[in-house]
Amino acid sequence: MRLIPAPRKGGGLTTHAPAEEFLDLRDGRVRLFRAGQGEPLLFLHAAGGGGWLDYHQRLAARFDVIAPDHPGFGGSDDFGDVEAIDDLVFHYLDVMDELGLDRPHIAGASFGGWIAAELAVAAPHRVGSLVLLSPAGLRLPDHPVADIFLLPPDQLVATLFSRPPPAPAQPAQPATPDIDAILAAYRDQTAAARFCWSPYLCDPKLERRLHRITAPTLVVAPLQDRLIPVAHARRYAERIPAARLTEIDGCGHAMYVERPAEFADVTLTFLSEHSLGEHSLNGVIR
C-alpha cells in the first residue's frame, strides 16, 4: 500500500473552500471542486490525487476553475469500464458535455497532463488552450520515469520535491492508524495503477500523434524534476505545433504544491494571452 501525501488533507494551503459538486454520468458520479469567475478552465490532477490547493485558488481569481477527481480517485466513483487512457479521453469528453463546456481551457499536471494531451490529440476542436505541467505520457527509454509504485513513502516525497516539502505541522502519530485514510490512499493508488502500470505512465503511440494538437499550448517544466525528466516536457514542446516551453529553475515535480504562486502566474499569463474568443461564448456551447 502506498501513502502519497494527499494534497487535500494538507494543512493551511486552502484559502477558502471551493464548491464541491457532483456530476452524474451514465456509468457513475464524478466529484469536482469549482470556484471562480471567467472563462472555464478544466484542471486534471496528477496521479497522487485530486483536491483544491493554493494553486487552484490563485487560478480561480480570473477563471472558472473546475477540478474533477479522475475515475477511481477521491470522491469519484470507480467507473470500472474506464480501463485505460483511451477510455479516459472519452470520459472527459462526457464530463465536458455534461458541464456544457464546448471548448474550455484545459490544464493538466503530470498524469493529468498526459490525459489533457491525449484529449487534445483526439478532439483538438474541444480544447481552447492547453497547459501541460511536467506531463507524463511519453515513452522516452533514455529518460526513464521513476517508479511511483515502488518508491517507499519517504523516497517518494524526496523524489517529488526539490526541497523538503512545506511541512504542514504534523499531529503526533495517532495510536491507531486511520484505516479509512489508508484505504482512501490505497484506492487512489489503485486507480493510478489501473491506468499507469503498463505501459508505465505512457502511451507509446502518443508522441507520433502530438502534431494533431491545434490549441495554443504551454508546456511547463520544473528543472529539478526527479520523477519525470525534463526531456519529456521538451519533447512535448518540440512535437506540439503551437507550443511554448517554460522551464522553471529550483523546483521539483510537485511544482504546483512546491511553488504555487509562480506556477499560477505562469499559467495565468499564458491563459490570458489566449482568450477563448468569438467562436464560443466563454467556452460554453451556445
Binding site: L151, L183, Y186, Q189, T190, W197
Partner: protein
Amino acid sequence: MRFSFFHLMPYPHLPDNFDDYPSSSLTFPNKYFDPKLGNQLYHRYLDELEYAEQVGFDGLAVNEHHQSAYGLMPSPNIMAAALARRTERARIMVLGNAIGIRGNPLRVAEEIAMLDHLTGGRVDSGFVRGIGWEYFAHSVNPTKSRSRFNEAHDLIIKAWTSDELFQWIGENYEYRYVNLWPRPLQQPHPPVYIPGAGSTETMRFCAEHRYTYMSVYAPTRVVRRWFDGYRQAAADLGYVPDPEKIALSVPIYVADTDARAHAEAQPAVEWLFRKGLKQPMELVNPPGYTSQSSLRGLLMTERKPFSALSYDDLLADGYAVVGSPATVAARLAEMYDELGGYGQLIGLFAIGPSTHEQTTRSTELFAADVIPALRPLGVAADA
C-alpha cells in the same frame, strides 16, 4: 494425517551488506547469485526432496517465485519434472503455479497435464496469484490480479476436462482453439490446492470447488480464523470438508534434543523471516492487488511485521515449530487442537541457511519419530 516436504529453494549466501537493500526480492542485484554455488544448491535441494520420499513423506512440494533470493524456482513445473521419474510413490505437489501473472495460462494446463503423465498420476496442482513484487517483476497490472487468476483457473479446468475443442473469450485472454493434448491422466483432473491468507473470497472459492485450502505464514490464532472461515464456507454449502482438504504449512526443524534444535534452527528461522521475507509493503501489496474489503480486514488484524518478531515470538505464535521429535510432535498436536484440526501438514524443512546435513537429519527424525505419532490425527474417521 498426510505429510509433505515442501522446499522453497532459497539462496542463503547473502552478502554482508544485505541490510543495505530493501528486500531479497525484485531489486536485490543478481550479481550476488554465484552460478557455481547456485548450481550446487539446485542439486542439493532436489536430493533433499528425493530423500524425503525415501524416509516416508507422502508428498514433495515446490512453488514459484521470481527474481528473488527467497526462492529459486521461477518455474515450479521444471522442478516437478526433475522429480517425476526420480520418485515413485510420493505426490508431486506444485504449490503452485502463479496463474495471476502468466501471459499464457493455457501453457500451465499443458504442463500440468504432461507432469500428470510423467508422474503416473501423482501430480497435485496448486494455483496462486503470485506475490505483489512479481507483478512488478513480470510487468502485470496488479489491479487485474484477481480477474486474471479467476479467468486462468476457469480456462485451465475447462481445458483439462473438455474432450471437445472450444473457444475461450474472456476479459483477459482469448483463444480461438482450445484442444488440450495431452489430457491429464487423473480424471477429471489433478487435485487442486489453493493457499489462503484470510480472503473470504478465496475461502468461498475453495469450498465451492472442494479444493484443498492451505495456510501461509501466520500466527496460529490467525490460521484458526482462516480454517474456520473455510469450514464455514463449506457448511454454508451444506457439507463438512474432509480433513485432508485443510492443510497447515509451517517451517519445521527437528534435531536430537531441544537444545541442539534451537541452536541450529534460530539462525535459520531468523534468516527466513528477517532476510528471506524482507519485503516492504510497496513490494508485497502493490495498488489494487488487495481489495478494499480484504485490506480493511488486514489492517484490523493487528499483526506485527516479521522484523518486529523475536525468535521466541515466532515459535510462541506458531510461525515455526522447532525441537526434539517429542517436542515437535507435541507442539503439532497442540496446534491441531488450536486449529480445530487439519488433515495435511506441509512442512518447510530446508530453512534459509540450514545445511544439507542439518536438513536431512531434521527430515529423517521427523519421518521416523513425528510422523508415526501424528499419523492417526486428521483422517476422515475422526471427522
